[in-house]
């Protein structure tokens, strides 16, 4: 590799590419700027074949990549009303409507049960496309539902986090999802069934500071941003440049905060292997 392949080629390709190809067929890798066929990208679990960049994957694709068509969606409660009548530049109810339309989801967390190599498991999956995967009442309740289902049916619990944290538009009610989800996970863990927490890009704020850091094992996808405070806030506070790779999965592994850092294509195999130890 030299500066031509690293820098000039991708720049050229993105420059030429953008003009000539229809939008809907190709995706540009935000890291290496190479064009990738969308079809191929989906097969590759949304990992760039050129630079291994892990795109954010939506909850449904994640679910299919784990279970194929062999899963059952578990219904979770929806928000009835906007209790705070929150409005910034847009009304919260309008933001919700738009997110529902764009993602075809009811809220940011999908709960399902399925079978992984003969082991039945319960999963909860965050979808970052739904308002940044933010955790409000519906997401919190989805985690509680997943815990209760796994507890009742004595199943391993796997939660895939991808969230900027609490949903500001629900104010204190979203903050209360921290103790609520911790209570649910804590109660589930007393059954001695395994809880695997999978941290994907990004896992921060009220999600990382609640159930996500309480897994029996914590696995992080490659190069995911994981932390409590946002890096911009930290930079403004300390007025210094942040260390290289700060708050990335690999950095957290060095700091002893996660068990493994893993490529998305190996994740399923790894989970199966771990469950064989914990759930023989």
């Amino acid at each position: 590799m030299n500066w031509i392949t690293n820098f000039v080629k991708p720049k050229l390709q993105s420059f030429v590419g953008k003009k000539e190809v229809p939008d809907n067929l190709w995706e540009t890798c935000p890291k290496c700027s190479q064009m990738i066929l969308k079809r191929e990208l989906k097969v590759a679990l949304y990992v760039c074949k050129h630079c291994d960049h892990h795109f954010r994957i939506n909850a449904k694709d994640r679910l299919e990549s784990f279970f194929g068509n062999n899963f059952m969606i578990i219904e979770t409660p929806k928000i009835k009303s906007d209790p705070l009548k929150f409005k910034d530049s847009k009304k919260y109810v309008d933001r919700l409507k738009k997110a529902k339309k764009n993602t075809e989801l009811e809220d940011s967390v999908l709960v399902a049960s399925g079978t992984l190599n003969k082991t039945k498991v319960t999963v909860a999956i965050f979808d970052f496309n739904f308002m940044g995967g933010s955790m409000g009442m519906a997401a919190g309740e989805a985690i509680v539902t997943a815990c209760n289902y796994a507890k009742k049916n004595k199943l391993p619990l796997i939660i895939f986090s991808s969230s900027g944290g609490a949903r500001m538009q629900e104010g204190i009610l979203s903050l209360m999802q921290m103790p609520r989800t911790v209570i649910a996970v804590n109660s589930y863990c007393k059954t001695n069934q395994p809880f695997l927490s999978i941290l994907t890009d990004p896992t921060t704020g009220g999600v990382s500071a609640s159930f996500a850091m309480l897994g029996d094992l914590i696995l992080a996808e490659k190069n995911a941003t994981i932390g409590f405070a946002g890096s911009r806030v930290i930079e403004e506070t300390i007025k210094e440049k942040l260390p290289q790779n700060f708050q990335k999965s690999e950095y957290l592994l060095e700091k002893g905060m996660v068990d493994f850092v893993i490529h998305r294509k190996d994740l399923k195999k790894k989970i199966i292997s771990i469950l064989e130890f914990l759930n023989p």
Binding site: P77, K78, I79, K80, S81, P83, L84, F86, K87, D88, S89, M137, A138, E141, V144, A166, M168, E170, G171, I172, L173, S174, L175, M176, M178, P179, R180, V182, I183, A184, V185, N186, S187, T204, G205, G206, S208, A209, S210, F211, A212, M213, L214, I226, G227, F228, A229, G230, V233, I234, T237, I238, E240, L242, P243, F246, Q247, K255, G256, M257
Partner: protein
């Protein structure tokens, strides 16, 4: 001289006039009458202002430099206090203090955010922003309370957990998450008092009480109004709008079913009368202690869990 907040300017004006007249050292009836009139006016303006504080004004009041802080409150309320230090893992974090407290011959375990009373302690205490070692000390304290079956009293007053490279490196998220989990498993009752600023996850770590009680002008919020404004309005100048929208006042939180009770503050706010503020807190604490006396560990844990699990249920459709 008292420290006045920006919206207290009318008070400051009256106070200056009073000081001016006093300075005359004139004991004539005219002056005495005027002084008494001015004092009446001052009291009325003060009462009116604090009766109608807007959310952003409450934000300023709860952050007031003279607002009662942890150590002053402990001194006032408890007959005896034995401080406990360190997380046994890394260091001593002075932004979270704790120890054994005795009140009316009953023993308690106390944990609280301490913003510090003066510039020196404020810096030492990192302005009440805890690092992982602070939360890990809190876990030690929760575990002690659990082992010796001591009721826990927490005092919440923090802008939030410390945002910094060191805090992240040592697992700020894990420390907060584990503190919450630790508190959930405590078999003795936890009484949480939000006395000033209840800032985000850093506050939740100390606020998972069987009873959660707020001082009248305290706030409790998912994010600071400034932070919220800079994200959602893209301008920190919109923090007044954000403060309105976030529903962070004690009155809003009582309506939303987040807290159990509000403790009325003296006229002009807690910082104008430490003694009466603390005696009101003490009175509630004694009453809660009595309420929970003789309850089984199972019922205490279950009441706490159910309290949180039922929050917000009315806003969801199953």
């Amino acid at each position: 001289m008292q420290n006045f907040l920006d919206f207290e300017k009318p008070l400051l004006d009256i106070r200056s006039k009073i000081e001016e007249l006093r300075h005359l050292k004139d004991t004539s009836e005219n002056i005495a009458n005027e002084l008494s009139n001015l004092q009446d006016k001052y009291d009325k303006v003060l009462g009116d202002l604090y009766e109608n504080l807007t959310p952003i004004q409450k934000v300023k009041v709860c952050r007031h430099q003279d607002r009662p802080k942890f150590s002053q409150i402990i001194d006032q309320i408890f007959d005896k206090f034995e401080i406990i230090s360190g997380d046994r893992l890394f260091s001593e974090d002075r932004s979270i203090k704790g120890g054994f407290g005795r009140l009316d011959n009953k023993n308690y375990l106390i944990i609280g955010n301490d913003k510090g009373n003066d510039i020196d302690t404020r810096v030492k205490n990192n302005f009440g922003m805890a690092k992982p070692e602070g939360y890990r000390k809190a876990q030690r304290l929760y575990n002690l309370a659990n082992k010796f079956n001591l009721p826990v009293v927490t005092f919440v007053d923090t802008p939030g957990a410390h945002p910094g490279v060191d805090a992240e490196d040592r697992g700020q998220s894990e420390a907060i998450a584990s503190s919450i989990r630790c508190s959930i498993n405590v078999r003795s009752p936890i009484f949480s008092f939000i006395i000033g600023e209840g800032g985000s996850g850093g506050a939740v770590a100390l606020a998972t009480g069987n009873k959660v009680t707020m001082l009248e002008h305290a706030i409790y919020s998912v994010i600071s109004p400034e932070g919220c404004a800079s994200i959602l309005w893209r301008s920190a100048n919109e923090s007044e709008k954000a403060a309105d929208s976030l529903k962070l006042t004690a009155q809003d939180l009582l309506d939303l079913g987040i807290i159990d009770e509000i403790i009325k503050e003296p006229i002009g706010g807690a910082h104008r009368n430490l003694e009466s503020t603390c005696s009101a807190i003490k009175e509630r604490l004694l009453s809660y202690t009595q309420e929970f006396e003789g309850k089984s560990s199972e019922s205490i844990i279950s009441q706490r869990e159910q309290k949180y699990l039922s929050i917000g249920k009315e806003f969801l459709i199953s």
